[in-house]
Structures are given as structure tokens and as C-alpha cells.
């Protein structure tokens, strides 16, 4: 039995449908991340699980119990909000204890639960402080403490780290992961940050325009994206997508990169994919920046192709090379060489044919059987 089950869940505001038939099974103890751009319906979906939004269609079950018409407090879920939602008039201990107090738990039970949560979250020295006297990270830990003490079946996180600065976000991300490992509570986490999704999730649900685009483990989604949206959403920098047309050269399918120049570049396509393509089919050829190589770095089935360098961005140990193939932009992420200046003189890129992804240009779906 799944811990959380969404069947054909729909959300409408009047005539406007914002979440379209979402299906998802979250297993007990699993950490599932809903990720997608702003307005994709991920927070709305989470809020329907929480009971903060009415469900317009479909069913939501928690622990095998249908909860469509169950009040948030009776769903046995706890939520951590983006803006912490800590009560400013209460101190840390009172904030953590709030949920137990309103449920009229015994005083000693409340005290023990607060102590335990504070110890887990390193909040013991701050129990008497008001939220205004805490740092952003401490406030977020208090918000988590408030969720922990309830010992719910499911934790819901609504972009909990987006108000923190980059450094703190990385720290808190690790803390959330440690907390999940320690407590093993089923968690659904919403974020627009694909790095958070990749690092935290057991499984990622990529959403776009109110629809689920793909569900899978982080590496499944990274290596075998079901469509061009997922391919371009996950990964930093995102996957390069080159517009092209399938042509047949000596009986082998190749991609002719769109360009004003009639001598447009021809890219060999992986044999496994070639059989699924037809001549003149409009496609998007995808390639991860980290798979593009320069010089003699690449090995295996590699095609060398002419490119012009627009910009070099050294990031320390790595550098981003912004180039163009037949006028279309392509970014390469390479190890920074000793002579960074020389990178701007590079005239050719090495494309590992086996790493290429192909998507139908019209539907966006992957042509490698993963759609």
C-alpha cells in the first residue's frame, strides 16, 4: 500500500484547469520531489495533498484512506512552508509545541517531544528565543521541528529553502536529507531548483503546465529524459538542444543541423535511435554540456564538428564554453585547462555519438523508446 496515492487529480479555478489528471504513488518512507518551473502546478498539487486546496477531480489517499473531504488537521500530515510561518509572538519551544498544544496533548508529552525535536535539529540553545532573533536557517529548522513533533505519516515541504541564501541552502539541503534518513518518514518536497531535486529525491516528478512530464529516479531522468522539457529542465547547465532534420546519408540516418548555411553540419545519430526515425523528420538533438569534449579528450564513437567560441566562463575547476554549431548555441562544460585563454581559439568540438538524445520536434517526446 502506498503512503500517498494521487489518482487523476485535477484542480480547477472556475473554468481554468491548472492541474490536469495527476497520477502518483509515493511509497512508504520515500522522498519524492515535485519539480518544475513557476506556475507548473507543483505547489497546488502539494496543497491538495495537505488539504489546503480543494480537489476538483480525482482522489487523494493517505495511508490507504481517501482524504478528499478530510480536514488538513485530520490527514496526519505536517507541512513546512516556504516563509517558515513561525508565530512571531511565540518562542521557539512554543512554536514547536503549538501543534501538540492545540491537540491538547499532556504537558509532559509536549515537553519531551519539544526536547527531542530540538536535540535532533540543534535548536536546544535557542528554545527561549523568538523567531525574530533567529537566523534564516534556524527559523527553517524551527519550522521543521514543528512538523517533526507531530510524528505525522507524511512530511510536506513547500519550497522550504527558497528564502535562504545559496550557502545556507546547501547546508539545509544536507540537513533535510540527514533528517529523512534518520526518521524515514514519507516526504513530498516541492522545489523549482533542479539541484535540490537531484540531491534530495528518491524519485523526482517533473511537472510542466499542470501535467506530470516524467517520474523516475534522479539518474533515470538525467540519463533518459522522456521529453525535451525534462531534458532541458534537469542538469546545470541544461541539455543543449539543436534543431535539425533527419536525412539519410549512405543508408545511415543523420541529423542536419538547421542553419542558414547550406553546408550545414551533419551529425551522426546513434544506431539504436536511427531505426525509429524517418527521413525529413524534424527533430531536436540533445547533448549534455558535460558530454561535449574539446581537443582529444573524448573516447569511443566520437564525431568532430566545427564550432565557433562565443564566450568562455571559467568556474574554477571547470569552465563553460559557449559555442555555436551552424549558428546554433551549444554549451560545453569542460575541465579548466592551464591556458584558459586558449579555449577561445578552439575551432572544433568532439561529440560522443552514443550520448546524443533525439526528440521529436513537434511532440517533444524522446525518440529512443523512453517516451
Amino acid at each position: 500500500m502506498s503512503a500517498v496515492e494521487l489518482n487523476d487529480v485535477v484542480k480547477r479555478y472556475g473554468a481554468l484547469e491548472v492541474v490536469h489528471s495527476v497520477n502518483l504513488n509515493v511509497e512508504r518512507g520515500e522522498f519524492v520531489v515535485l519539480v518544475g518551473p513557476s506556475g507548473c502546478g507543483k505547489s497546488t498539487t502539494l496543497r491538495m495533498v495537505a488539504g489546503l486546496e480543494e480537489i476538483s477531480g480525482g482522489t487523494v489517499s493517505i495511508g490507504g484512506r481517501l482524504v478528499n473531504r478530510v480536514a488538513p488537521k485530520d490527514r496526519d500530515v505536517a507541512m513546512v512552508f516556504q516563509n517558515y510561518a513561525l508565530y512571531p509572538h511565540l518562542n521557539v519551544a512554543e512554536n514547536i509545541a503549538f501543534g501538540l498544544r492545540v491537540r491538547r496533548e499532556k504537558k509532559d508529552v509536549i515537553e519531551a517531544a519539544v526536547k527531542e525535536a530540538a536535540a535532533i535539529l540543534d535548536l536546544t540553545p535557542y528554545l527561549a528565543r523568538k523567531p525574530a532573533d533567529l537566523s534564516g536557517g534556524q527559523r527553517q529548522r524551527v519550522a521543521m521541528g514543528r512538523a517533526i513533533v507531530r510524528k505525522p505519516q507524511v512530511f510536506l515541504f513547500d519550497e522550504p529553502l527558497s528564502n535562504l541564501d545559496a550557502k545556507l541552502r546547501t547546508q539545509m539541503r544536507a540537513e533535510i536529507k540527514r533528517l529523512h534518513k534518520r526518521m524515514g518518514v514519507t516526504s513530498i518536497y516541492v522545489t523549482h531548483d533542479q539541484i535540490e531535486a537531484m540531491t534530495l529525491a528518491d524519485r523526482i516528478v517533473v511537472m510542466n503546465g499542470g501535467r506530470v512530464e516524467q517520474v523516475g529516479t534522479p539518474m533515470e531522468l538525467f540519463l533518459k529524459p522522456a521529453n525535451a522539457f525534462v531534458a532541458s529542465f534537469l542538469g546545470s547547465p541544461p541539455m543543449n538542444l539543436l534543431r535539425a532534420t533527419v536525412v539519410c546519408v549512405d543508408g545511415e540516418p543523420m541529423a542536419r543541423i538547421d542553419a542558414a548555411d547550406p553546408e550545414a553540419a551533419l551529425l551522426r545519430l546513434p544506431k539504436a535511435i536511427g531505426t525509429s526515425l524517418r527521413a525529413d523528420q524534424r527533430i531536436l538533438v540533445g547533448l549534455r554540456p558535460e558530454h561535449v569534449a574539446v581537443g582529444n579528450d573524448a573516447s569511443g564513437d566520437v564525431q568532430e564538428i566545427a564550432a565557433t567560441v562565443d564566450l568562455v566562463e571559467p568556474l574554477g575547476s571547470e569552465a563553460l564554453l559557449h559555442t555555436r554549431i551552424s549558428g546554433q548555441p551549444i554549451v560545453a562544460k569542460i575541465e579548466t585547462p592551464a591556458d584558459v585563454e586558449a579555449l577561445s581559439q578552439i575551432g572544433r568540438l568532439q561529440i560522443p555519438v552514443g550520448r546524443l538524445h533525439v526528440f521529436d520536434a513537434e511532440s517533444g517526446k524522446a525518440v529512443n523508446g523512453h517516451a
Binding site: A50, M79, A85, Y87, P88, H89, L90, F98, V102
Partner: protein, 293 residues
């Protein structure tokens, strides 16, 4: 090292002019207080002969002795306390839940209900219908009538409603997830978060009830129920025609003016004591509803 001034000559002149004007304004508002206090502790003869302009002359507490020994003064004082603090408590108990309900988007008919409340700001039934209404409800000459008849004020309800609306939704949602009932949500979240607004409204109620005169005069009959302001009116109007009082002036150190001033001072003391302790909330409260964070 060369020194420089952050302010230009024009800025400095503007600053001095401002300070002077504010100083004059402060003096003009402070003067009546000082004058009334001086009159109340001066001899009747000194006041009548026009010797008291700012500071007291012939110091005496005779006027206070006269006022404080009057049984009716204490009854009126007690009544004013009941009307002010009892009335304010009842007002808050009615207006807070009302404003909270009106602030909730899920309240059915919310728009029309809000319009009905706001309507009373612009139009009201007037004195005669209100009087008849109170009479028909059996609330004439009744302490309860004074308290309940003026318990709800549309302006204060709207002020509270606006503040409740400005409370971030996530507090409500977090409390709901935590298991708070609607009453707990109001009591444990909204009321503490809205303390500035509630204290401001309480102060409005306190000041208006402490100073209330007209409706007490219209609705109350018996001396046992009159508030301080009505007592003051009786002193001013009735004592001038009272032969016993007139003859007592011949032998006493108080006069009609010093007695009136002593009552005024006695009547403003509670408000003067309350205001400084809640001034910080009041200052924040009067801007409520104008901005949303």
C-alpha cells in the same frame, strides 16, 4: 582636516523653523492642561479676579475637597469606569469575532455583509429612531443599554478586518495543519498577531466612552447611573442655580471655576495614565489597513 556640514543653510533654517512651529504647537496644546490644573489648585478669589494665567495662586485643595466629598461624584466616576472598561471589553468581544469573520474569504455573502457594515459609516438611522429602538428594547435608563447600545462601531470593525486580512495566509494554513480549530486560530494566532490593531481599537473605545456625554444624557434618567461627563454638566449647569452652593462660596476658598476645573482634572487622570503605556501600539495602529507587507 577640513570640516564640512551635511546640511545646507536652507536646510538648517528649515529645521529651526520646524522646531519653532512644533514648539509653539506643543505649548498651545499643553497650555489648557496647565491652566486648568492651576485653576483647580488656586483659591476661588484668585481665579475670579483673573490672577491665574499660567501658574496657580493661593494654593489650595479646597475645590478637590468639595468634589471628592460629593457622593454623586464617586457614583459618576464608578459608572464611567463601568461604561468605559466594561463597554470596551464587550465591544472587543463583539467586534473581534465579527471582524475576523468578515475578513475570511470563505464567508458566504462576505461582500454584502461588508457593504452593510460600511454602509453604517455613511448613513445611520439618526437620533430619534435610535432612541425609539432603545426604548422598544427596554434599554432606556439602563447601564446595560449604554454598554450594549454602543458596543459595535463600523469603523473599528473595518480597521480590525483590514488587519486580519493582512495577516499572511501561511499563518492560518500552518495553524490549520497543526490542528487548530477556528476558535483556536482566532484566539492563539490572529489575536496575538493583531495586538497593535486591537489595542488601538480598545483605545478608541476607551476614549470615546470616557468622553461620552450626549447619549448618556438622552438615555439615562436616574442620578445613580450617570457618567462623569453628565455629572460635570450638572455641576456646571445646576450649581449656578443652586442657592446652597452660592451661599457656600461666601465662606469657602473654592469657586464655581475651581470646582469645575477640579472635576476636569479628576476625570482626565485615568486616560492620561493609560495613554503612555499603549502609545507605541497606538502609533502603529493608526496606520493599519493602509499598507500590506
Amino acid at each position: 582636516m577640513a570640516s564640512f556640514n551635511l546640511y545646507s543653510r536652507g536646510d538648517r533654517i528649515f529645521g529651526y523653523a520646524n522646531a519653532t512651529l512644533i514648539g509653539l504647537f506643543v505649548l498651545s496644546t499643553l497650555y489648557p492642561f496647565i491652566y486648568i490644573l492651576s485653576v483647580s489648585i488656586s483659591s476661588g478669589a484668585a481665579v475670579t479676579s483673573g490672577q491665574v494665567v499660567l501658574l496657580p495662586k493661593d494654593l489650595t485643595l479646597a475645590a478637590y475637597e468639595f468634589v471628592l466629598s460629593d457622593r454623586l461624584f464617586w457614583i459618576a466616576y464608578g459608572n464611567t469606569f463601568i461604561y468605559t472598561f466594561g463597554g470596551t471589553a464587550v465591544s472587543l468581544a463583539i467586534m473581534i469575532p465579527g471582524a475576523y469573520a468578515l475578513s475570511r474569504a470563505r464567508l458566504r455573502g462576505r461582500k454584502i455583509l461588508n457593504l452593510m457594515v460600511a454602509f453604517t459609516l455613511w448613513f445611520n438611522a439618526g437620533m430619534i429612531p435610535f432612541f425609539l429602538n432603545m426604548r422598544d428594547l427596554g434599554l432606556l435608563d439602563s447601564r446595560f443599554g449604554i454598554i450594549i447600545g454602543f458596543a459595535c462601531n463600523a469603523f473599528n470593525v473595518i480597521l480590525l478586518r483590514n488587519f486580519f486580512e493582512a495577516v499572511p495566509k501561511s499563518f492560518e494554513e500552518a495553524a490549520k495543519m497543526d490542528g487548530a480549530s477556528e476558535f483556536q486560530l482566532l484566539w492563539k494566532v490572529f489575536i496575538p498577531l493583531s495586538k497593535p490593531a486591537i489595542i488601538t481599537v480598545a483605545l478608541f473605545c476607551i476614549v470615546s466612552r470616557w468622553n461620552s456625554y450626549f447619549w448618556a444624557m438622552v438615555l439615562l434618567r436616574g442620578e445613580e447611573k450617570i457618567p462623569l461627563q453628565l455629572y460635570l454638566k450638572r455641576i456646571i449647569v445646576d450649581l449656578t442655580a443652586n442657592d446652597e452652593f452660592a451661599s457656600s462660596l461666601l465662606t469657602s476658598r473654592y469657586s464655581f471655576e475651581t470646582v469645575t476645573a477640579a472635576i476636569m482634572i479628576a476625570s482626565i487622570i485615568p486616560v492620561l495614565l493609560i495613554y503612555p503605556s499603549i502609545q507605541k501600539y497606538f502609533n502603529r495602529g493608526i496606520t493599519l489597513g493602509g499598507v500590506k507587507e
